[in-house]
Symmetry: C2
Subunit: 302 residues, 2 copies
């Protein structure tokens, strides 16, 4: 059985770092990811460069992406201006999302959930009118630091909303790492059913998981049991900040792929090549990353 990995390290991983990675380094890493067999890479976000300077080179980066027809390069966007900039830069796949938590939505975007739905719809239609594919996301689908557990019916309503808008993919994000396996598996199975059921359904349902409370990989297993075959990961477990005690890293690409391969799934990804990249990143940062498998593969000693 095939499982697809969507590499988020260059976007979700880098955006919280204090250092800014040069475009040519990002391009080299993208080349290494493609060479390692990764077929979906989120390379940048088109957001305010004053707020996220690590992503200021988004258009510059898209202009220089390698010619790899079998690789899907995506970008994250937060508003219509971002959609326009991304389309102008040549992006063919956009990640657009809203939060299932009204409080989180208001604090993070200044919009109520209702306003966010309106904005989301406008962004999706703008992308669709340009023939660009859309992945519709639901942040905080399994918990919010402000509101705690999110009512599953809110998530199911948002999933229907996204599907009605004709998104090409539906992404459930455990942005806070608060989801637990039975809860996450149960709600995800319902969303998979909504989206058409079965691993070959269209649109696909994907999971974006964080390992904040060490449940990320258990949630991968629960997601597999719920029928999900698409997972977001970041090499080395980048994401959030590895230097602070509440580090909220993504699940690590190589750790996830290792578990998947051992469990009988095929990803087409070469673990040792991802581990090489994580080792380089750890050396650049001068600190170990949250992932464990790259340490076993490379012998990197923090």
């Amino acid at each position: 059985m095939i499982v697809t990995i969507d590499e988020q390290g260059l976007r979700d991983g880098l955006q919280t770092l204090s250092l800014t990675i040069p475009t040519e380094t990002k391009l080299r890493w993208i080349g290494q990811l493609v060479d390692a067999g990764v077929r979906r890479i989120q390379v940048a976000s088109f957001v305010n460069p004053k707020r996220v300077p690590q992503m200021a080179d988004a258009a510059h980066l898209f202009a220089q992406l390698p010619n790899a027809p079998n690789v899907q390069f995506s970008a994250l966007v937060l508003n219509e201006k971002g959609v326009e900039r991304a389309i102008d830069a040549g992006a063919r796949y956009l990640a657009i999302s809203l939060s299932a938590s009204d409080t989180h939505s208001r604090k993070n975007t200044g919009m109520s959930l209702g306003e966010a739905k309106t904005s989301f719809g406008a962004m999706v239609r703008l992308a669709q009118s340009a023939g660009v594919s859309v992945r519709g996301g639901i942040q905080c689908a399994f918990g919010c630091r402000y509101e705690g557990r999110i009512d599953p019916n809110v998530v199911l309503d948002l999933a229907k909303h996204h599907l009605d808008l004709g998104v090409d993919e539906l992404a459930l994000a455990d942005s806070t790492g608060m989801g637990n396996p039975p809860q996450l598996g149960d709600l995800t199975a319902h969303v998979v059913e909504l989206a058409g059921g079965g691993p070959d359904r269209r649109p696909a349902v994907s999971l974006h998981l964080h390992n904040t409370e060490n449940k990320g990989y258990a949630n991968v297993f629960a997601g597999l049991q719920a029928g999900v075959r698409h997972f977001d990961t970041a090499f080395g477990g980048l994401g959030g900040c590895p230097f602070i005690p509440t580090a909220t890293g993504n699940i690590a690409t190589e750790d996830t792929v290792n578990m998947l391969h051992q469990s009988g799934y095929n990803t087409g990804i070469d673990i040792s090549k991802i581990a090489t990249l994580s080792t380089e990143m750890a050396q650049l940062l001068g600190e170990p990353l949250p992932g464990l498998v790259y340490k076993l593969v490379s012998g990197f000693n923090a």
Copy 2:
């Protein structure tokens, strides 16, 4: 549903450290664990003090254990001399195990698997003749660094062997962290069936899991689905050495309990009190421990 946690930090956690913890510190930690609601604690191993100086105070420790009738204090033993010393010291619950990997057995103990079975039988009978309870373990049940995947039939045969000897509990150990959720869940379900089936069966089947490859908590979830209600953990994820790249820590008590509570299970354990202990240990070692939840609870900044 109740899940029982067997705290291994004082034995599996400390035995690999380069520093030796004074007996009075261990006793204070044991008091904190009891106060946190832990009802099973492996406090020491009766092994050669020249080889494992951290455990040289085993008898001294047993003589000073707190009067806590509802807490089971256990010890690990490797040979008949160890059984005798443990019984003399007043231990009422002994962990005795052998490895499912012949190569690992030969390298670790100098005995073939057949010889180890004979030795195991002699130890179990010696303990039983003194009215002491025995937990019979199978190391490397899900993989071995020398032999790779272990034939599940070897593990099932050893489980039958242990059950025929009348062990009070059967422990499957993923000593290397190589087990993956579907494989571990499948084999464990077979062993649970052998042992009598159902969560209320006697003898209980317990799982001893390491998070070496970041699959430890996914394997907890797989174990729960297989009917297991007893897990070994170590506060902070101690075990193996946190300082080396191939760190092979146990799953962390507080991370496991956190996932269990969120998943609807009851352990009776106060997570914040375990996190306090892990924070103290991290400060003592001057390095963060592998567990993640204590960092969220305590704000400990490595």
